[in-house]
Symmetry: C2
């Protein structure tokens, strides 16, 4: 890379790292600024920046191993930061509701997606795959909106975060079930063991992680001669729990979130700042990367476009209704906030779409439909969240001020 401009002045070589960083980070921040000026959420601007610089519009950046890696690191650090800012004991208090929200929030979109494809005359397997693709919430986008507005410790936010963990386990199991059925080999024992190990892992870390770290970190910090030992220990826990999560079958971001929660009290404020710096650098890559996968080709086929315009409201409404119903005991305002916060889809969608395509269970059209849905819904959620949280944003009370804003 270094000297590449000199050694190969006539192009052809892969794009310079600094140039890519500049384009992705710079365009995301530029659009975030423009959006904030139009009183729209910056998060939506950063996703649109990805569409703009991506293959469909300017063609400056294509999705690559580089953009994927930066995006994955970005969402890991985002959830780690959210974990750091969330009070674990408060999260436990809404645990029952979160479980109901997570469960209904998987059932409703599955039925909605499956039903839509059935009505449209698609086959059973394809309908089941669409249903599955609609199930899992990608909590990153909501988390970034809530964190940037200092809303992470509202009741609705806590329910969303708890429900996202439940939702991730259920969606994982559903995908396992669906792919086994599609492949004609269904192993209930394997599925049960996966479920059990995932639940045990999460329960143990959530229950004892904070206490253990509260004792362990100060003792280690006193022992270690390493510079910035606090930060190094935090990073090792973050990557360790993220790796362990994927081993037991749940998303790496769940581990990152648990690591953050376990460390909330063990880390001094300065280390929060150090981790926050990494998050600030990487989150734009997570958001822009969503937009990078947008393809205009979906607009070429009229039938497909009509179907796409139906899938988007189904994806949104089923989450709002399912999750909102689950949180209804907290009143209408909280229920709507929870429903809206659970709308975004992300990596899981792409995994289902990819798996379905590879197994030839879905057509390439359905694949692009799912990707289109995920991106559209990701762009629409931040403005929606801004609306449903309007009351709190207008007169933010002392509850917000207690917490360190993003």
């Amino acid at each position: 890379m270094i000297f590449s401009a000199f050694l190969a002045p006539n192009g052809g070589e892969p794009m310079n790292l600094a140039v890519m960083m500049l384009i992705i980070f710079g365009s995301a921040k530029l659009l975030a600024e423009l959006f904030e000026r139009m009183r729209l959420p910056g998060v939506a601007g950063e996703i649109l920046a990805g569409i703009l610089i991506g293959p469909s519009v300017l063609g400056w950046i294509s999705p690559s191993e580089f953009t994927t890696t930066m995006a994955e690191l970005g969402v890991l650090f985002l959830l780690f930061k959210v974990g750091l800012e969330v009070d674990a004991s408060e999260l436990v208090k809404v645990g029952g509701t979160a479980a109901i929200v997570g469960t209904l929030g998987v059932i409703a979109p599955f039925v909605g997606g499956w039903g839509l494809f059935q009505l449209w005359g698609k086959g059973q397997t394809e309908s089941i795959f669409l249903g599955t693709a609609l199930t899992a919430t990608s909590v990153g986008i909501t988390a970034q909106v809530l964190a940037s507005k200092g809303l992470l410790n509202r009741t609705a936010s806590r329910i969303i975060l708890g429900a996202a963990v439940i939702d991730d386990i259920l969606a994982l199991l559903l995908l396992g079930l669906v792919t086994s059925v599609a492949e004609g080999r269904l192993n209930w024992l394997e599925l049960g063991l996966t479920a059990l190990s995932a639940i045990l892992f999460i329960a143990i870390v959530a229950r004892w992680g904070g206490k253990t770290m509260g004792k362990l970190i100060p003792r280690l910090q006193a022992e270690l001669r390493l510079g910035e030992a606090h930060f190094a220990l935090a990073m090792i826990l973050l990557f360790g729990l993220a790796a362990a999560s994927t081993k037991v079958g749940v998303a790496a971001i769940i581990g990152a979130f648990l690591a953050g929660m376990a460390l909330t009290e063990a880390l001094p404020p300065r280390v929060h700042d150090l981790a926050h710096g990494v998050t600030e650098l990487l989150v734009p890559f997570f958001l822009a990367n969503i937009g990078l996968h947008f393809r205009v080709s979906i607009f070429a086929d009229r039938q497909l476009l009509m179907l796409a315009l139906l899938v988007v409201p189904v994806a949104m409404l089923t989450k709002v209704l399912g999750c909102g119903l689950g949180a209804s005991r907290y009143g209408r305002t909280v229920a709507i906030r929870v429903g809206a916060g659970m709308i975004p889809r992300g990596e899981f969608c792409m995994v289902v779409a990819q798996t379905g395509l590879e197994m030839k269970a879905i057509s390439p059209e359905t694949y692009s439909l799912i990707v289109f849905m995920a991106i559209t819904v990701a762009v629409l959620t931040p403005p929606l969240l801004k609306i449903v949280f309007r009351g709190v944003l207008a007169n933010s009370g002392p509850e917000e001020e207690r917490f360190r804003l993003g």
Copy 2:
């Protein structure tokens, strides 16, 4: 990546991102801690961690696009941080000496490397390539040692940083010259233009960058609605100047260093912390990546091993003598410190070795020789620096305490 453990439980797929982060970051910090306990510099431990986890020993991690990207980002942020901590006006004061140090520090290793190969009976082209490979200092390792010990604002450190900029321009021109001669097409005009644009770019940014940013950043910060606007502006300047550097032909890290210097006074302390967090995360990847390129195969060929054991002292002594001589007017202590600080080689070596191999100007043996030299010298420099800076480390006076330590 997410769900990969579930979808493909029997391996074969690329290694999970969180696992790679854990292995590289964790092993680097573990060895840094062990080294610090043995009163050796942690930096050398982090390079050795790369050798340990790399293909020659444990084989857990191979050099890949991922490790290269993380390493390049790491050294960019390292030099940015160094720039932030360095007083530009103080750097200008040692400018004359730095120019002499940089020049002699290119001439001496070139002559030494060329002479060694001539004595060993190698051909003219191969000798010239070895000489060229020995010229450029990779200031990252020295910078990390100095920063972690709070020594960046010693006279010797300022001379080293200034000389590293000069050295980079000269090495760039030398490589251009050597490759043109080897290809049989020598364009003096092109070389002259490259030199001129590189020097102009650096001079303009170094001279007016700080003043411009001092005016521009507070004004922009007041205007922008974006969250963490200071940090976003700093990152855009960092990537922008790094990209511009490669366009005019010098290393991206020179741009990163200039960006840091230009921003020293314009950024509030909190933004220094945010950037410092990124540096803390990424620098272990830069250091471990050096070790990853180590191959034991060099020990299989006795002839080659003997030559390797000669190249290493030549590489070290020629820098110490050349650079030390250049700084001799500041007395023996400073001269030795400057000489030792200029020893490390890095990316530039690899570029010369790669270019030479591709042009068939050097043999694969010479290629591994150069890589072996760069790694060995990188491991040996930190302990050497600790020795030559011993007096300051033992009784660090108020000069250190004025500056924010790493």
